[in-house]
Symmetry: C2
Subunit: 107 residues, 2 copies
């Protein structure tokens, strides 16, 4: 599921959509109004985001109101945090080793 979310987030237009609805929930039409591409294109992006667990939908009459699903974002965030973690730890260790090799005060 994280993989779906990652792929969803990479597409710039979808990140833009996420940014839009994170301030306030919006209908599909309101979202589409912010873009130059056709509404079906936005519909498809919305579906991708929803299936990735990043958006939640609610019906209001004929409209569909989208809002972010923070748990989805959190999941991705944690996944990547784990991913950086090792790398940054290595970097830190390397820096410390470098530091020790210079403990004679010279450069």
């Amino acid at each position: 599921m994280v993989d779906l979310a990652l792929r969803a987030i990479v597409e710039p237009r979808r990140r833009e959509i996420l940014r839009l609805v994170q301030s306030s929930e919006l209908s599909a039409g309101e979202i589409a109004a912010h873009f130059t591409v056709t509404r079906p294109a936005i519909s498809q992006h919305l579906r991708v985001l929803t299936q990735a667990g990043l958006l939640a939908v609610r019906r209001d009459g004929t409209r569909r109101i989208y809002r972010t699903r923070p748990e989805g974002l959190e999941e991705v965030r944690r996944f990547l945090e784990q991913f950086w973690q090792d790398s940054l730890e290595r970097l830190k260790e390397a820096a410390e080793a470098e530091e020790r090799s210079h403990h004679n005060g010279r450069n």
Copy 2:
């Protein structure tokens, strides 16, 4: 540049490569040995990762040694952190508003 790095990271095989070389630098051949796909395929992934600023290369005789470029990862990390930030702040605000609406002690 962050966009390149994001796209690079999304591909699972490339994340795998990053994980491999983050513990210790490896030659292209050693990296390829961990996979079932052909070496050219890995070469192409390595190029994508390098151009995205996530890997650094060094020549050693006929070999090419790859290592992670932590600054690249850091850049992506900061970009995404910024991205989550707003969303998580909203979530927090929403939770607090929710809390206030229940300050009569009932549920």
